[in-house]
């Protein structure tokens, strides 16, 4: 399982980052996810990748979210530094990405969750619906509202 988890780490880390918007918190969440997976294993008949994202999300909801560090309005300084590339275009991109992160924090949590699962994690609507135990139609509407709201925020 460790080898499989190693392969999954980058995708899991993106997912953790997309929820926390803080490198420190994302890595903390990732560590907690991996520790829990190693300690408790994967239920029979469940694919590790799918289970890992579920554990990560549940851990975020149950334990990490209450810290509220994600509500900071500043872009993580580590990430700003890491993302820096010379040139005017890069500066514009940084600003744009910062705007996206700020805008995402303004979305209702259920919309953020669905948006991350589809646009970051790459899950199908059916997979999201199964995972969150909601109808596919709800996934569709939350996603559309999230994207619509982001478009509105970024264009004002």
């Amino acid at each position: 399982m460790k080898a499989e988890l190693l392969e999954l780490l980058p995708a899991l880390r993106r997912y953790a980052w997309s929820m926390t918007h803080s490198v420190h918190d994302a890595d903390d969440l990732l560590q907690g996810t991996v520790e829990r997976l190693l300690r408790k294993g994967v239920p029979d008949g469940v694919e590790l990748a799918r289970w890992a994202f579920t554990v990560c999300r549940n851990l975020w909801i149950d334990e990490y979210r209450s810290r509220k560090t994600w509500q900071t309005t500043e872009l993580d300084p580590d990430l700003t530094e890491a993302g820096q590339v010379d040139g005017e275009k890069a500066v514009q991109t940084q600003m744009q990405l910062k705007q996206v992160m700020t805008a995402m924090r303004k979305l209702p949590e259920e919309q953020q969750m669905v948006l991350n699962m589809v646009s970051v994690q790459g899950l199908s609507y059916q997979e999201v619906a199964n995972s969150l135990d909601i109808p596919v139609g709800t996934v569709m509407s939350r996603l559309a509202r999230a994207r619509g709201k982001l478009t509105e925020i970024l264009n004002t």
């Binding site: 997309s18 190693l38 990430l79 990405l97 569709m140």
Partner: protein
């Protein structure tokens, strides 16, 4: 027919039935507003995906890698000692077995290195970093892992970790960043000098159809798996190597 955000959003994700997809296509061809709205949603969606990948640019925490690469050093509650990670030898065999294309990847990677990293390191006289190569190697001599060293206004070297390869050479994984981008690299100490062993530029790799399934760093991981004798140097061991000017015992 009125095409709303739900339809356009699902169209973007290829989640519509054939019938609804055809309806959206027809609407997009006839309605400039719908086409503009789709472009807006697609743009936002691309940004959401892109901001998530920003975190890829930072190295994975060593403690986390240790947790997954180490078997013997995991203590009771799964907290791992932080004195550098040790690569399980069995993983090398696992990777060799599972990555049947490893040999081909290595060959391609080396070819890739010739075109991408060597200019960065100064082997190309037309390159603006002609003078950088000795400085990069000099940086490898002294910079501890986890630290970044600027070697001129535009170029920096960040050491990731050090290890012994299967030929008992001291080697280092490091990142070079300059105005053209960044590259992940491996160099090993041969006698009194560093020799570049492998390199990968993320952007160039991403543009190559042949490398689509794996990112540059991931390819470098495979190379590392094949090269490492089994352990990364601890902080103390690395400091000793730095003090000894990277001379193998």
């Amino acid at each position: 027919m009125n095409i709303n955000d739900e339809m356009l959003s699902a169209y973007l994700d290829d989640e519509l039935s054939d019938q609804d997809r055809a309806l959206v296509r027809t609407a997009l061809a006839a309605d400039a507003k719908a086409a503009d709205r789709l472009a807006q949603l697609a743009s936002v969606n691309a940004l959401v995906g892109r901001q998530a990948t920003l975190v890829d640019q930072l190295p994975m925490p060593q403690s986390l890698l240790s947790l997954l690469r180490e078997d013997k050093h995991v203590v009771a509650d799964n907290v791992v000692e932080l004195s550098g990670f040790r690569q399980a030898r069995q993983r090398v065999m696992h990777v060799m077995r599972d990555h049947a294309a490893l040999a081909a990847s290595l060959a391609l990677l080396i070819g890739f290195a010739s075109g991408q990293l060597l200019p960065l390191l100064g082997n190309n006289p037309e390159n603006s970093h002609t003078d950088s190569s000795p400085a990069i190697y000099a940086a490898l001599d002294i910079v501890p892992s986890g630290q970044q060293l600027s070697i001129d206004d535009n170029t920096s070297v960040t050491a990731r970790f050090s290890f012994l390869d299967t030929q008992s050479r001291l080697c280092r994984q490091f990142v070079v960043q300059d105005t053209q981008g960044s590259s992940e690299n491996l160099a090993c100490r041969d006698k009194d000098q560093w020799t570049l062993v492998a390199t990968a530029r993320s952007s160039a790799v991403a543009n190559s159809a042949q490398y689509q399934p794996a990112s540059g760093p991931r390819l470098l991981d495979n190379v590392l798996d094949a090269m490492m004798q089994g352990s990364a140097l601890s902080q103390a061991e690395e400091q000793s190597a730095i003090s000894n000017r990277w001379q193998s015992e």
